[in-house]
Amino acid sequence: MSILKHMLAAAVGAAALAGLSASASAQTIGFSQVGSESDWRTAFSADMKAEAEKRGIKLQFSDAQQKEENQLKAVRSFIAQKVDAIIIAPVVVTGWDQVLKEAQAAKIPVFIADRAVESDPSLFVTRIAADFNLEGRLAGAWLAQASKGNCNIVELQGTVGSAPAIERKKGFEAVISLFPNMKIVKSQSGNFTTSGGKEVMESFIKATDGLKDVCAVWAHNDNMMLGAIQAMKEAGLKPGKDVLTVSVDGVPDIFKAMLAGESDASVELKSDIGKYIYDVVQGYLKGKHDYPKWVLIPSDLHTPADAAEMLKKKGG
């Protein structure tokens, strides 16, 4: 009787194992997301889910609600479930070594998406992310062409000390430094907010006597530019005509401004980046192991020419 019981148990166990291996061939990937603190983040999560479904990936999605401890818990549960790969969009840069070692011990490859981590690079396969510096360079290159290399620029910086503000500024300056007649004449922080952009722009307008000799406004994000556009209009100036505008993000309202002829260019911060991430993860699982430590997600710049199309895509 007891022997029969054991045999039965073994048979059930074997069946369960067979079932597991069948679903494992469909690739189970654990994804620990930061949370849903911004429109961009929410769109990014939705795209990760949609793209996984398209590719037949079984996605274990975990929302960390912006707490690292939740992310650590999620990653540990992914390890316990023996997923095929783990993707982490980290909340913060530090504190990852221990859990990454646990994943390595369980032989599960880890991929970092979006923000960087400060840990031993051998503990994860690669980071897949856009480049703030590239966004700045792209904006600078567009402006160099649009102004034919002659331009006095006023700059609305993001929050002082934040990575996007530092890198976008550096990238932009790297390009305009190639042109002797392009220079930043005023630069202040608008804290990435619409009201900040508006207030700073009002002071720039006063300090430059109505933007005399200023050919362009460069803002580290679209929200500040939207504020700056309002400030210019209220001072009787015509943004997009009297002065060129270029900013970063590609929010729906900046495309509306482009269609109204009040904005000239915006570098898109892509949220549909699932395809770039899964390409790398699936490539790695198929045996391609020579990825660089940072796989770049390309950036696009948009102008009034494709603003209507972009606005439709963004659901504005």
Partner: protein, 347 residues
Amino acid sequence: MRLDPPAALQAPTRRPAAAPKFSEWRAFWPLLALALILLVDAFISPGFFTIRLVEGRLYGSLIDILYRGAPTAVVALGMAVVIGARGIDLSVGAVIAIAGAVMTELIHAGMSAPAVLLATLLVSLICGLWNGALVALLDIQPIIATLILMVAGRGVAQMIDAGTIVTFRSDFFSAISTGRLGPAPSRIVVAAAVYALTWAAMRRTALGLFVESVGANAEASRLTGIDAKFVTISTYLISGVAAGIAGVLITSDIRGSDANNAGLWMELDAILAVVLGGASLNGGRVYIFNTLIGVLIIQSLTTSILVSGLPPEYNLIVKAIVVFLCLLLQARPVRQAVSGMIWAKRT
């Protein structure tokens, strides 16, 4: 303009017959600080004091100070009343965000603009009532009671906006915030109206007396027959509505409700303005004119930094140093030393 303390609270000593020394005038030191900041501006930006008409409205850095300072002024006037009754309202920034979110939501719901305005102010009044009830009825310390709404309120606003920046178009609200009345920007007129109302309520009705009396000694006030609970709740109602008005101005300014940033840290600017005006957080006095000077000090500082071309990394440190110097100027030992020097020179 001399703002006398209410007669009932004055010490029974006789007033000096001769006019008091200029440096004893309560607005003297805050005005001196403001004048010094503007003096520096004259050097760093030659066109700072130029005011001209552009498209029918006043235009210039000085107008910018009044224009940008208007929402802070409205909040600070409410804060001055609360502090006068020995309270504090940390929730004003969050109430600004809530007012903005409610207003935007109602505009999108298709309500008429004046109705939206009334409903928004009603919501901010309820926020004030919540604070007042916690402080006066449940006897929770003001700093803790208003901290609850400060933290939760921004969350409520984010919830109403569903985590996004919701934009709108409304000629009515744009006219209130960014339009003009004659050559004057309309928000300056709004702030002036709030100033006049606050002044009237505090100086021309019994409420002003009661507020300062409760602030000086709540128990003694109660024993003299003042309904201290009612007075306390009233101060939070005033502060709530003031924050609501500021919320309307700020939200209409960018034509969108930004729950994460609207009114962020505004409570600190408002408290600072009251203190720069020479009021004590221990209550007992409501300085209306001086609070306005405090707001102008803070805003002229911000505008000066923006106009100066200083790298943004230095913004906060410069602001901190100047605020420190302004407060130092108001410290009694320093005042006496400075007065002593001036007096010694004269003789």
